[in-house]
């Protein structure tokens, strides 16, 4: 009802539209639309955003029901590197396995030489 306080036409409420393409897929954000209420929003969402695209489910959410991040909060998402909890922090493992493999192979060769 913030809209009415602003003196703007309450017909134009903002709804965010989400959908699922496949039964086992994630819900994805699509776009927003203006509608006077959620019943109308959902019936309009279908043809505005899924005329060609497939959807197995559609959700509409009043935008003012969503708590978003402020810009400061978004900046805080830019993380320092935390290598220790990501796979890329362990890029040396392959080489170390290879070293063991080589050692083993060489060892076998030495044995072969001794036998001969």
């Amino acid at each position: 009802m913030d809209e009415q306080k602003n003196g703007l036409n309450p017909f134009y409420e903002e709804f965010e539209v989400f959908s699922k393409k496949k039964e086992d897929g994630p819900l994805q954000y699509q776009f927003s639309l203006l509608a006077p209420n959620e019943e109308m929003a959902i019936v309009l969402a279908k043809e505005n955003f899924f005329r060609r695209e497939k959807a197995v489910d559609i959700w509409v959410v009043r935008r003012n029901a969503i708590r978003k991040l402020s810009q400061s909060e978004k900046e805080s998402l830019k993380k320092l590197d935390k290598h220790y909890r990501e796979t890329k922090g362990y890029a040396d493992l392959n080489q170390r396995w290879r070293n063991f493999k080589e050692k083993q192979d060489n060892g076998t060769d030495e044995k072969k030489v001794e036998k001969a």
């Binding site: 017909f11 639309l33 203006l34 509608a35 019943e39 019936v43 279908k46 043809e47």
Partner: protein, 265 residues
């Protein structure tokens, strides 16, 4: 059913179905770009495309029955040869679609809602038609009918329960459509033979279902009407039509007839 001995009632029925959808979709398409709301414009156009697509399916069946090319059937027949109900040919309002269209959204909501309710009932019946191509087409069309009804019911309920002005406009529109909606519910002069050939159920049964369903919608918004749908301007199934159809046919065939030598467009 044998096609040979029931050819006339079969083609008469399909012309009714085809022409109803074709003319109704034509009127809907004149709204394109002019609806009350941009988002609604997009949604409404999908419904008109579906309906025009259904008309195309029917004209193709007629074509397979030897009636001629689908485009010729839709664009070259004379007014008297059309079998659509008169209420569907009525203009959307005063003015032309390009020049001061004073279109009536309440009339459009009511006409579309009533038509889609009646159409769904008709399609449910046609699923059991003795003519398999018709039954098959009906099954396909029904998949799209759900959305049409959902859409128009929401518009109906919301406008009927909003402002006093909207309620007045809607009630005026109901009375206006009611006076001629009987034309959609009739099967015309060949009704008996259509039914005895097993093409579709009896007109009275279909009509009763329609009235029940509309009554239910009326109840939800505290509205009632005394009489039954009438057909005061004549029976389109019998080739009776108004100037509005004449005008519509002239518009929709303008390009198609403009070059008789043309073999493609």
């Amino acid at each position: 059913m044998s096609i040979e001995s029931n050819k006339q009632e079969l083609t008469e029925l399909i012309y009714q179905l085809a022409d109803d959808d074709f003319i109704h979709a034509h009127r809907g398409s004149e709204w394109l770009g002019l609806a009350p709301h941009i988002e609604e414009d997009v949604a409404f156009s999908s419904i008109n495309q579906d309906t025009m697509g259904h008309a195309t399916m029917y004209y193709r069946i007629l074509s397979e029955l030897g009636e001629g090319k689908a485009d010729d059937l839709s664009h070259l027949r004379k007014k008297e040869q059309f079998r659509n109900a008169i209420i569907l040919e009525e203009k959307n309002g005063t003015g032309e679609y390009l020049d001061s269209p004073n279109y009536d959204w309440a009339f459009t909501v009511i006409r579309h809602l009533f038509y889609d309710v009646a159409k769904k009932i008709r399609l449910e019946s046609l699923k059991q038609s003795s003519y398999e191509p018709l039954a098959d087409a009906a099954r396909k069309m029904l998949t799209e009918q759900y959305y049409h009804l959902l859409h128009w019911k929401i518009w109906f309920k919301q406008l009927m329960t909003s402002t006093e002005e909207a309620r007045d406009r809607m009630e005026t529109a109901i009375k206006r459509v009611w006076k001629d909606f009987g034309g959609v519910l009739t099967l015309g002069p060949h009704a008996e033979k259509m039914v005895s050939a097993g093409l579709i159920e009896d007109e009275a049964a279909l009509r009763e279902r329609f009235i029940d369903q509309i009554q239910e919608l009326f109840n939800e918004v505290n509205y009632s009407i005394d009489n039954e749908p009438l057909m005061i301007r004549g029976d389109g199934r019998n080739g009776e039509h108004t100037e509005d159809l004449e005008h519509a046919l002239k518009t929709l065939s303008e390009v198609y007839v403009s070059d008789p030598q043309a073999t493609g467009w």
